[in-house]
């Protein structure tokens, strides 16, 4: 069984007094297997963010269902949602979303503290992750004292430390320079190679070319998908670019 199953998702935003309504997702279905690294691509307004919010259980779909590890998200009670999110999902955002009030270490600890873990355990869990991400020597610094790349690696550490089933990344390279982008993408590949499932939303071709599979969304539907299989990065880059060109011309291909 797939680890993440998305079936016929539909999301309609209507204004409070029922006047106009906007259809953000028309009909989205796909599934992600354990250990996969999937990128979702699409232009602004294609429904990417809505999809991600629904996957994160931050928003509810109008129709359709999302199953994570066999668990139907809409069946989880409101008050258990936060704990579910904490235990099963890790988030990496474009603008890092680190809290100014915490040091790097405390930012990473945040989900564990919320889960009521002891300091010793948190510390034990942090050590290997910090080492792998190369942030061991900035743990006591505050977010405003470190570079964008370091911030994003801190955010990745925060996402990894709970050992989540799925990592959701929203334009993780959007605010990084090219060097930091390369570092982060390599890091994602490494993590993925160790078995971590990753779902990334992006419109960077470069970022997407590192994924094993790329889904294209247009007008609220999955329009197309590409498997990387044996392709190398630059070949994949070309394929994605081609697909995007077709997409923008308004083509209608389904592979």
């Amino acid at each position: 069984m797939a680890m993440l199953e998305v079936n016929n998702l539909k999301k309609i935003y209507s204004s409070r007094f029922g006047g106009s309504s906007v259809q953000a997702l028309t009909n989205v279905s796909f599934s992600v297997e354990k250990g996969e690294y999937v990128a979702i691509m699409g232009e602004s307004g294609s429904g990417k963010t809505t999809l991600l919010n629904i996957l994160a259980a931050l928003d509810k779909p109008t129709e359709g269902s999302v199953l994570l590890g066999g668990q139907e998200l809409s069946q989880i009670r409101e008050r258990d949602l936060a704990a579910f999110r904490r235990d099963n999902l890790g988030f990496v955002f474009q603008d890092f979303n680190l809290l100014d009030t915490f040091s790097v270490r405390d930012n990473i600890f945040l989900p564990l503290v919320l889960a009521g873990k002891k300091y010793d355990e948190m510390s034990r869990r942090l050590q290997p992750i910090a080492q792998k991400l190369g942030i061991g020597d900035i743990l006591s610094k505050f977010p405003y004292e470190i570079s964008g790349g370091q911030k994003q690696r801190t955010a990745v550490a925060r996402a990894l430390i709970t050992g989540p089933q799925l990592i959701l990344a929203d334009e993780p390279t959007g605010a990084l320079d090219s060097k930091a982008t390369d570092q982060l993408l390599r890091l994602f590949e490494e993590i993925n190679a160790e078995g971590q499932t990753i779902l990334m939303v992006t419109h960077s071709v470069k970022a997407a070319s590192h994924a094993k599979r790329v889904l294209f969304i247009k007008d609220g539907q999955v329009f197309h998908q590409l498997y990387r299989a044996e392709l190398n990065e630059s070949e994949m880059f070309g394929r994605i670019s081609d697909t995007l060109t077709v997409l923008q011309r308004g083509g209608n291909s389904h592979e």
């Binding site: 931050l58 936060a82 999110r85 503290v113 505050f142 405003y144």
Partner: protein
């Protein structure tokens, strides 16, 4: 570009920034209204024939009020304006980027200030005029003057208010120009979202805070007499103010950082979010919190102090004038004077006027400046050289007779020859009074058989508030013996001849008019100069006067204390308004700040309820910390105010305590109301 573009843009800005701008406008309006009322009341066109003198007190108080309000308005408007401008930095930056020169922006800002002036100062004057009559009625009621007066417009107050607030707003405008000139558009754009740094731990400031606060409290605790209290009051206030700023800006951060250091405490959900949030918040808000704290303290001190004074008016009247008719005078031992005879004569004369004497108090005393060493009290022949220092004041020793003490307190002291009672405790119960410096000095030996209660005082000396000891001697003979010794020693040292002070108080069933009749009859053409004693000899004295408690004296006391209380309430209300505005602005800015954190924490897996709860308790703590500290300040202040009130003859410290408690209670309710009202705005922003 059309000519009306800039004025219109300015108007739009004001409306668009309503959340920040309207409270600011309201502040200008309220302070202007208060300023106008103060100014109008200080002009005193309402003095009705015959009460001009009484009204003068209010005029004087309101003039003080104008000065305080004026200074306060300048500071407060600059403060709120700077808050407003910080919030708008981004908007102004955007104008600049979109192609408006700084000159154009300055023009827009000028129009905004003009609107503020017209609406704020103009509206303030109108509101002031509406409230003017009400305020005057309140003031006059508190002063116990007929409250009904005609309404009248005070042109001078209108002009002064308009001009003064024009000046204030011009000042803020210049400040804004300066700010504008310094910034470049990119900075302006970023202005409101600059990263907040972690506060540094400032040990020195924390230590300074501890010392100044301790010093201020120390003064309040150790000072034992009113003169010292008066001398050191403002020192103590200054120290506590400095201490408050240090406390909020450094000490709090130090404590919070220590908490963060403790892993077992810190890494628990509520503490984790709370402590880190507060460290963050303290950095930015320390000054704001200290301001709130100091404003709260000021309001409470002012209102509780003037309230105690006002409610204590009867007390101070009764202290200063123990009876309706108060005779006071002085005579020398060589003169023919006997208090009993005098009392009899005055009683008769009062009764001749058709009034009944219902009670009387009579006592005689003599007072000497003495220096104590062990069980010896010495009157020195030579005066101390140089000005007297506060720490080395002589002991004012007041000698009474047992009979006088009984008349005052109703308590009979059983004192034999060579025995005395005193408010001061002498070692081994032995006391020697020594007159002069050398071997030949006179000396009287006594034994202390009773210690009098420490709160015994006479109005004649209570007001002086020096170090005072009361000594009760067995009888008049003992008092005369003491005076003779003084006189004997004084002949060598050229002292003036010692005299006996006496007091006679008579209560009658007469009303105020009748009392005034009696006063006229007693001190009229055939005045007391003609009095003779029972053996027909003329009675002699050095000085004598009669004072009535009721009538003019009572009116004057109420004019002063009522006017003072009115000023207290008036300024108190203005300060509360200022505090409400600071709180409102704090809530808004924190709301916008927390909204982001709120979102992030939710994504990381905190429930909405938990977030609400933790932010709630944090905000609550941060908001009520100033009130708690202000309460502590007030408690320590009470020690000093209690003493200061004795300078106004209010010895009723229980009344003062109740006034402080009641003020604190009412203030807490108001504070809570302001908090709840502003907290709603906060939640609206956070949950948007």
């Amino acid at each position: 570009m059309s000519k009306s573009f800039y004025p219109q843009l300015a108007l739009q800005n004001c409306v668009k920034n309503g959340k920040f701008y309207f409270p600011y406008l309201l502040t200008v309006l309220c302070t202007a209204a208060a300023f106008y009322i103060c100014e109008a009341l200080s002009e005193s066109p309402w003095a009705i024939e015959g009460e001009a003198v009484r009204y003068d007190y209010l005029t004087m108080f309101m003039t003080i009020g104008v000065v305080i309000l004026g200074g306060f308005s300048v500071i407060f408007l600059l403060y709120t304006n700077s808050f407003l401008m910080k919030r708008r930095a981004r908007e102004l930056g955007l104008y600049n980027v979109l192609g408006m020169g700084k000159g154009h922006i300055a023009l827009v800002l000028s129009y905004e200030s003009l609107y503020t002036w017209i609406l704020g100062a103009g509206g303030g004057i109108l509101v002031g005029m509406l409230l003017q009559r009400l305020m005057i009625m309140l003031a006059r009621r508190l002063m116990r003057v007929d409250p009904l007066v005609r309404f009248s417009i005070v042109p001078k107050a209108i002009l002064t208010t308009a001009a003064f607030f024009g000046f204030c707003l011009l000042l803020t405008l210049l400040g804004n120009f300066w700010r504008l000139g310094r910034q470049n558009p990119v900075e302006l754009l970023r202005g409101s979202q600059m990263g907040e740094r972690q506060p540094k731990t400032r040990f020195f400031i924390a230590l300074l805070g501890l010392c100044t606060l301790g010093g201020g409290y120390g003064i309040a605790v150790t000072v034992k007499n009113p003169i010292d209290a008066l001398a050191q009051y403002f020192l103590a206030v200054g120290l506590v103010m400095i201490g408050t700023y240090c406390l909020f800006s450094a000490l709090s951060i130090l404590v919070l950082k220590l908490l963060r250091f403790s892993r077992n405490y810190y890494y628990k959900t509520p503490h984790f979010i709370g402590v880190s949030g507060m460290i963050h918040r303290m950095n930015r808000n320390a000054v704001g919190l200290a301001n709130i704290c100091i404003l709260s303290t000021m309001v409470m001190v002012m209102i509780s102090g003037t309230l105690s004074l006002y409610l204590g008016t009867e007390d101070s009247l009764h202290t200063r004038y123990p009876a309706q008719l108060n005779f006071r005078g002085r005579y020398r031992l060589t003169q023919n004077f006997d208090l009993e005879e005098v009392e009899k004569i005055f009683r008769e004369r009062v009764e001749e006027q058709g009034a009944e004497v219902t009670g009387s108090i009579a006592y005689q005393l003599t007072a000497m400046e003495m220096r104590q060493s062990g069980s010896t009290l010495r009157c020195q022949a030579k005066d101390q050289e140089g000005p007297p220092s506060l720490s080395d004041l002589p002991l004012t020793t007041v000698f009474l007779t047992a009979e006088g003490y009984r008349s005052l307190t109703g308590e009979t002291l059983d004192l034999g020859r060579g025995e005395l009672a005193s408010t001061a405790a002498f070692p081994d119960g032995a006391v020697s009074f020594v007159f002069g410096d050398g071997e030949e000095s006179g000396r009287l030996d006594y034994r202390q058989t009773k210690l009098l209660p420490g709160d015994f005082y006479l109005p004649d000396y209570g007001v002086m508030a020096m170090r005072t000891a009361y000594v009760v001697l067995p009888d008049m003979d003992a008092l005369e013996e003491l005076l003779n010794q003084w006189n004997a020693a004084g002949r060598n040292a050229n002292w003036r001849e010692g005299s006996v002070k006496w007091y006679l108080g008579l209560d009658t069933g007469a009303d105020v008019q009748e009392q005034q009749q009696i006063e006229k009859a007693l001190f009229g053409p055939a005045g007391p100069e003609e009095m003779t004693d029972s053996s027909g000899e003329r009675i002699e004295w050095d000085a004598m006067l009669l004072e009535l408690r009721e009538g003019m004296n009572t009116e004057e006391y109420y004019s002063i204390n009522g006017g003072f209380f009115f000023l207290g309430i008036f300024l108190g209300l203005i300060f509360i308004m200022a505090m409400a505005l600071i709180m409102y602005y704090k809530q808004i800015s924190e709301g916008y700040e927390d909204r982001e954190r709120f979102k992030i924490m939710q994504q990381v897996g905190l429930t909405k309820r938990e977030i609400r709860r933790s932010i709630n308790s944090q905000v609550l703590l941060v908001f009520f910390a100033p009130l708690a500290v202000a309460g502590v300040h007030l408690a320590f202040d009470f020690g000093l105010v209690k003493l200061l009130l004795t300078l106004f003859s209010v010895y009723n410290s229980r009344l003062a305590a109740w006034c402080s408690l009641a003020t604190f209670g009412v203030f807490t309710l108001l504070y809570l109301a302001v908090y709840l009202a502003t907290a709603r705005t906060y939640y609206k922003i956070v949950s948007e």
